[in-house]
Symmetry: C2
Subunit: 168 residues, 2 copies
DNA sequence: CTCCATTTTCAATCATTCTTGAAAGTTTCA
DNA sequence: TGAAACTTTCAAGAATGATTGAAAATGGAG
């Protein structure tokens, strides 16, 4: 396979991966493109390489900045904005985890708490079962939330090291 | 809040959660419904409680069976099929992890391997950088794959226990 | 085997999300 | 300050994914 072909495959792969995890395909492709680009890219470069509109390129670059996955970079004597990606993959994984935690896990925990405030008599079996289910979910989700905290703070080798030990 | 209201909120919450993780909203709602239903439910029950068509209910129940999250159950003297959910949340988490691993992580690892087979001279810096990126991703994804294996096999307290230790 | 209750399929339709592109906004600098 | 270079916005249209519902298939009982 040629390098150019492999790079194109890679952006497609990353895009498809994003799709199945609830991430906009184009956003994932823009991310892929910057991950494997030796030089920072401008909005126009992205438009051209992925054949998307200016609006689309701009909005996805902006979103990626909100995820802390890419940064602006300025070139001397050029008014255009260029973008470069964080290339340390463990760092990338941590930032995605951190952001999903903030956007999804924490609101989920808050919503689950609201559901435990029900009128019914607790001796009512149906109410009791429901509360138990909600509490169990709350417990597991809270533990996962802590696990993500650990992941965010841990070094790669320590994190996977601790997990590998469990297999023994 | 009334119990019935809380249950409805719960199915909506679970549905929204599914959406943001790449899971069909209705499928997640059907799952929620079965999680909090004391009795097994028939396709008609699901149709009625979620106001969806027969085809939709049927297809999502079938999908949930493929995820090993729900089971068929037969009632004596009744030809209808009834469905009940696995209610142990840690077990549910493990099965979802197992299935996503099988469907997504493993194919991803296979695709990454294909990308390392490129023609260019390895002294070419661009090719070298690309290969390094692909290999780094490969390494992290493979470690995550093992982590999921561990999760699938571990007891809840052991798994989270090992992670909690890292915080100290 | 036939009937009928039940489940499954799938083409058409609908809903949601993504994308476009042109207009408005902003920044830089001569 | 004016004008060019560049970025952002957003309403309309396109694409994708979900849902419907009726017809076909299935399978158990008599």
């Amino acid at each position: 396979m040629k390098l150019s072909e492999a790079k194109e495959q890679f952006t497609k792969l990353w895009g498809a991966l994003g799709s199945s995890w609830g991430i906009n395909r184009t956003m994932a492709q823009v991310h892929a493109l910057l991950l494997i680009s030796p030089e920072p890219l401008s909005t126009e470069d992205v438009m051209e390489q992925l054949s998307v509109s200016r609006g689309n390129a701009n909005m996805n670059l902006r979103d990626l900045m909100n995820w802390n996955l890419i940064y602006k970079e300025h070139k001397a004597g050029d008014r255009k904005e260029y973008f470069k990606a964080e290339k340390d993959i463990w760092e990338v994984a941590k930032r995605i985890a951190k952001e999903r935690k903030r956007r999804e896990i924490q609101p989920l925990i808050a919503s689950l708490n609201l559901l435990t405030d029900i009128d019914e008599d607790k001796r009512n079996t149906e109410a009791k079962d429901f509360l138990e289910m909600v509490n169990n979910i709350h417990t597991v989700v809270t533990k996962m939330d802590s696990a993500v905290d650990t992941l965010i703070k841990a070094e790669e080798h320590k994190f996977f090291g601790a997990i590998v030990k469990l297999l023994k």
